[in-house]
């Protein structure tokens, strides 16, 4: 019997009718005419969606999400009025460092699944017992199996406070946090709030530069390249961001009613990951771990949980929080910060930028491979980065 502040084991089950309905809708998809260009500059290409829809309806195993998630210890716990779903895997090594990792959009806990074993069981994955983590992977409110907040105000700052509450509820008195994308925003907020017990963070996206590069150095080639990449993103890549920040409900109708609309919207995140995913579907040549099945696990999970609109709404909350905070600088970060720049990320944050934003930068590295979905695409390399980044904090 769970209390209001208790922790309840969670097991998921999708109804067969839901899956039949999804398959039927994919088969009945009506597609638009082909884009007028030979690249992604007008959006997700018809050939990509065509291949994706064909594989999704015919070859994909719809039982995968259930099997993969139910193989892990999952729980829900009510925090600040929201039922938070999370995976909690304790390492067999008792001195393991507790780590809360936050996914992003259009991701979910599914992005992080293949990093669980290497992080929690390092001796089976090329590491030593001293590299072990106890791992907590929560679903953001409105994503996957976490409930959607019934009231306004769930910006990443409030999520950060909820995560600190979750870690304390799990009995962790000293832990670290990690995130990319929206997860980087949550983790950055945690670092600024510095709850008791938070020993340090690791990030793979420099959130503040995405919003504003004022004051960052722009002399070196690397700095100029990063600035240029950000400029390209602002000039041509933030339509989804703006639509979700201002009209999540409007795009929500497509994301709930049409599987191909949902899949296309979720594929159209950034140039690097789009082309990698398109290769997986069109040429059958996935890059790293970004396989067709992995991509569709995430899409299928969004569809079956019906969370396209509620996940989009997290951007609206972010926009509202930014508007309310206008002009006020956030509190400085006092905890140690580790940062990894993955080469395919929207922009390659140079060390100088990471240092400018996080004066206590205790680890910085530019990885050889990987993009925006680093944990998903390169789980081993991602694991190595976390081991190195957090080693000095153990």
């Amino acid at each position: 019997m769970a209390t209001a502040t208790g922790i309840t084991p969670f097991h998921l089950e999708f109804a067969d009718e839901q899956i039949d309905d999804l398959r039927r809708r994919i088969r009945a998809a009506r597609l638009p005419s082909k884009e007028l260009v030979d690249d992604r500059s007008q959006g997700v290409q018809l050939a990509t969606i065509d291949a994706l829809a064909r594989y999704w309806a015919s070859d994909y195993d719809f039982g995968r999400v259930e099997k993969r998630l139910n193989a892990l210890p999952q729980y829900t716990s009510e925090i600040d009025g929201v039922d938070v779903h999370f995976i909690h895997v304790r390492s067999q090594h008792e001195d393991a460092l507790p780590l809360v990792m936050t996914h992003g959009w259009p991701g979910s806990v599914i992005e992080l699944l293949d990093a669980i074993d290497p992080l929690t069981d390092p001796t089976a994955h090329g590491g030593s017992a001293e590299d072990a983590f106890h791992l907590v992977l929560p679903s953001l409110p409105g994503y996957g199996f976490s409930s959607e907040p019934g009231e306004l105000g769930w910006s990443t700052g409030r999520v950060a406070r909820a995560w600190a509450g979750l870690m304390s509820r799990l009995g962790y008195t000293r832990y670290v946090a990690q995130g990319g994308d929206q997860g980087a925003a949550v983790t950055d907020d945690m670092a600024r709030q510095a709850p008791a017990g938070l020993a340090g963070v690791h990030l793979s996206l420099l959130r503040s530069a995405l919003a504003n590069t004022t004051g960052l150095p722009t002399e070196s080639d690397e700095e100029r390249a990063a600035l240029e990449a950000l400029d390209t993103f602002r000039k041509s890549g933030f339509g989804y961001f703006l639509e979700q920040s201002t009209r999540p409900q409007t795009i929500g109708y497509a994301l709930l009613d049409s599987p191909v609309a949902l899949a296309a919207w979720m594929l159209d995140h950034d140039t690097d990951s789009y082309y990698k995913i398109a290769r997986a579907f069109v040429d059958g040549q996935p890059v790293g771990n970004l396989t067709r099945d992995h991509i569709l696990d995430n899409n299928t999970n969004y569809w079956l949980t019906g969370t396209g609109a509620s996940a989009a709404r997290s951007y609206w909350e972010g926009g509202r929080a930014a508007a309310l905070a206008a002009g006020q600088a956030p509190p400085a970060v006092s905890v140690p910060v580790g940062f990894t720049t993955f080469p395919g990320e929207i922009f390659r944050a140079p060390r100088s930028w990471a240092e400018a934003v996080y004066p206590r930068l205790t680890y910085f590295n530019e990885a050889e491979r990987g993009g925006h979905f680093a944990a998903w695409e390169e789980p081993r390399l991602f694991t190595d980065e976390l081991r190195s980044a957090f080693r000095p904090l153990r």
Binding site: A29, P32, E35, R234, R247, Y253, A254, D257, W265, D268
Partner: protein, 407 residues
């Protein structure tokens, strides 16, 4: 002229014939709509509200007569002709009155020629609608490339400038040696560009969404899209300040749809696959027209913008599968929506109170060196012709009176 060129430039009669099964498929999709949960606010701040979409889907799939748009269009003489390799569909109604003034009217997004249907009678046959024979127009209403029954371009290049030049060819092809042009939304930009191209036969233009915003103000507005940006301009008159504030509201909270279609029109697969997605996307144009359309689905239409009218437009877009192809115009465009386009021909402006912004006379005078008419009316939103066809007609009669040739 070769036989094949003659064939291409021929003007062929056209009738809408909706493919068997298309409406049944639409009805089935509507009946199986999977809605999201309700927005978490009590207004339209998160987009089209669930109650509006539920009412719309219920009416569309239940009471609405799906054959309406076909019957309404086929009541007019329609034609297709190929211009620059693309089939262009248009309505062409000649006035019963000799010496009527030829007029080409251009629609916008998310509109179509459906917006203009109710104005065609009063414009072409004024004596039947409270006007005089001297008010008569011969009316040409083309569908823009990628919209309705015009062909969908298969290559880039059909931007508003190209469309403006195509319309000049169309009027020539129809044998009109002198004519006027009118537009709102994209149609306003195309009409402004026609006024800048200033072909010999173009006697004047009228706009209900004129491009008048001075360049420095336009730059300030553009800097506000992502939040932050340049400080608000100073030294504006009362009218100018109000215009700036309305535009700023649009630039800070209302451009998502436009930037998504500008950057990634192809990503909007929902517009082809889901009628509820298409309808929501199309009614989320601007705050004031959304309010009016939401009112229509509560059974309280404002002016002529009824549920049936709104659904005629959406149903046509669905049946022709032109949600994405129409959105591509945003990707093609390189002009600033509200910028001055360099019109030199005589220009007329009507300011509607619920348009995206109310162009101040001072800006209109700067934008149009030959401003022959300027009037503010007391009703009408972004869809002026659609919502207020009588006011719209009266404005066009008054605006173009001075450019008519003596008979």
């Amino acid at each position: 002229m070769s036989a094949s060129t003659m064939e291409a430039t021929a003007v062929r009669e056209f009738r809408v014939e909706v493919r068997d099964g298309a409406l049944e498929d639409l009805r089935r999709r509507l009946s199986e709509t999977r809605f999201p949960e309700k927005e978490t606010v009590e207004d339209a701040a998160q987009g089209v509200q669930l109650a509006t979409m539920e009412a719309l889907v219920r009416y569309w799939g239940g009471e609405y007569d799906m054959g309406r748009f076909e019957a309404r269009l086929n009541a007019f003489p329609q034609f297709i002709t190929e211009i620059d390799g693309l089939d262009i569909h248009f309505i062409h109604v000649r006035s019963p009155h000799e010496n009527a003034l030829p007029l080409i009217i251009t629609h916008g997004w998310p509109g179509s020629i459906i917006e203009m249907l109710a104005a065609i009678g009063p414009l072409t046959d004024p004596t039947a609608y409270g006007g005089n024979a001297e008010d008569a127009f011969d009316v040409v209403v083309p569908s823009m490339p990628g919209y309705g029954f015009s062909a969908k371009p298969a290559a880039t290049g059909w931007d508003p400038v190209h469309i403006a030049r195509a319309w000049i060819q169309l009027m020539e092809r129809l044998g009109y040696t002198h004519y006027v042009a009118q537009g709102g939304d994209w149609g306003a930009q195309i009409t402004d560009v026609m006024g800048a191209e200033a072909p010999l036969g173009l006697l004047g233009i009228h706009s209900n969404m004129p491009g008048t915003v001075p360049p420095e103000i336009s730059a300030t507005l553009a800097s506000h899209v992502l939040g932050g940006g340049d400080p608000a301009p100073s030294g504006l008159s009362g009218d100018e300040q109000r215009a700036y504030e309305r535009l700023n509201e649009l630039y800070t909270t209302g451009l998502g749809y436009s930037i998504e279609m500008g950057h990634r029109p192809q990503t909007l697969y929902g517009l082809a696959d889901s009628p509820v997605a298409l309808a929501a996307w199309m009614i989320d144009h601007d705050a004031r027209s959304y309010d009016d359309i939401a009112a229509a689905f509560r059974g309280e239409p404002v002016g002529s913008l009824t549920r049936d009218e709104v659904l005629d437009n959406i149903t046509m877009t669905w049946v022709t599968n032109t949600g994405v192809s129409s959105g591509r115009l945003y990707a093609e465009n390189t002009l600033g929506f509200f910028d001055i386009k360099g019109t030199t021909v005589p220009a007329a402006v009507t300011v509607f109170p619920n348009e995206l912004y109310q162009a101040p006379r001072s800006w209109a005078e700067q934008a149009y060196p030959n401003l022959i008419y300027f009037n503010e009316v007391d009703a009408g939103n972004h869809f002026a012709a659609w919502q207020e066809p009588e006011i719209f007609t009266r404005e066009l009669r008054a605006a173009f009176k001075s450019v008519r040739r003596p008979t």
